[in-house]
Amino acid sequence: MIKSLRANHHILANTQEQLRILSEGVFASGELPSFEDRLNLINDYPLKPSSIQIFQVNIGYMCNQVCKHCHVDAGPDRKEIMTRDTMKMCIDIIKEANIKTLDLTGGAPEMNPDFRWFVEEANKAGVEEIIVRSNLTIILANPSYYDLPQFFKKNKVRVISSLPFYQPDKTDRQRGEGVFEKSIKALHMLNEVGYGQDRTGLLLDLVYNPAGAFLPADQLQLERDFKKELKNHFDIDFNSLFTITNLPISRFLEFLLRTDNYDDYMEKLVNAFNPSAVKGVMCRNTLSVDYQGYLYDCDFNQMLGLKVQKAAGQHLRDFDINKLENREIKISQHCYGCTAGAGSSCQGTVA
């Protein structure tokens, strides 16, 4: 079984080391402009939020998969997990701050023993939309998860699932042997209860990210390909496809460095910088929460240990929407991943 960088005591499990790499090399030499310099050129520095509408809560880093590109460095050996007390704090804030969307992620969020409780309570609290970022295979990982599709349906959860490609080889190379086949089975189970079907209102979206050091293809074109191929070969339906660019952190950073792709990839991201994507970056309307209740500008910053600006309040217990909406967003060179080409976010392209 492949282990996390953390379990392997890999130097890149250290967030300071990742941040050092991202600020040195081609950026320190001036070969490429820093993200801050690039934002300054278009008068967008410091980057400021718009209004906070999405609460993206990472309820634990444990996962049944160990994907090669994972920015969380998730896996079965990760034990960090959110408790019910922290979830209660989230629920209180959702009510009080009028948060529209609760976006649950991990690891595999379904592995948190309080996952179902959290979803039910969020519904009672009146949140407009609950998203679960499911890796699909979790639904088949254990009989206790077999009823997840029914649970999602009952609670009107929007399911967003990773499926790197519509063919087995690329998917399995990135996510592990046999993942594609299990993902297809899980998608069938979701389709059977009504997900991705017309007029059910049950949304099933897929996420594509490139299986390597290149940018994603055009989102609409890929959505057409995925729809055609998944329908023809596997009789699967889904709603939208979101393309996400791989950000150079954690395991994907390890891959870039190990394969001598890092400099070229960073240059590719910098050259593809799109000023209009800056307007739509997700850190402007999303707050990321970690398992302990600390706040971050995004899930990537969470994995780099970059909490929100101190003056804005860094924990759920200090939550103050006005301070948070007036904060300066923390950036480093990984941010180029969200502004390249058509832009990238947890909801796909932004420009």
């Binding site: 063919q167 293809a217 055009d218 390909d225």
Partner: protein, 117 residues
């Protein structure tokens, strides 16, 4: 001092691909015309940008241009083209190149038949 990396050791340096635009240094007007034309050629037209990328990849193999193979492999991946599709494109190149030799054997056969009793 201006450095001329690798030039004396090898004809090709991958880093030179990024310097393609620098050809304007020795002839800006024609370079501008060429790059404008190049940009227009690859725009979505009666052929899709994806089809054009695959044609470019196939031609790159025919002319055995390492810069072009590098550039259009990346470009193909970024257009959602699969490994299988890229390999099929290269087999089209190979078939045409091989066929171009083989079809000349008709000339060989004609000549041989004419000379032989």
């Amino acid at each position: 001092m201006q450095t001329i990396p690798f030039m004396e050791k090898t004809y090709y340096d991958p880093a030179d691909l990024k310097k393609f635009g620098d050809v304007a240094e020795f002839g800006p007007e024609l370079a501008k015309k060429f790059f404008d034309y190049y940009g227009d050629v690859f725009k979505e037209g009666a052929l899709t940008a994806r089809e054009k990328s695959l044609i470019a990849l196939a031609v790159a193999h025919a002319i055995q241009c390492p810069y072009c193979i590098d550039a259009y492999t990346s470009d193909s991946l970024e257009k959602g083209i699969t490994d299988e599709q890229m390999m099929e494109a290269v087999h089209v190149t190979t078939a045409i190149r091989g066929g171009a030799s083989l079809v000349h054997s008709v000339q060989m056969m004609n000549k041989s038949k004419k000379l032989s009793m």
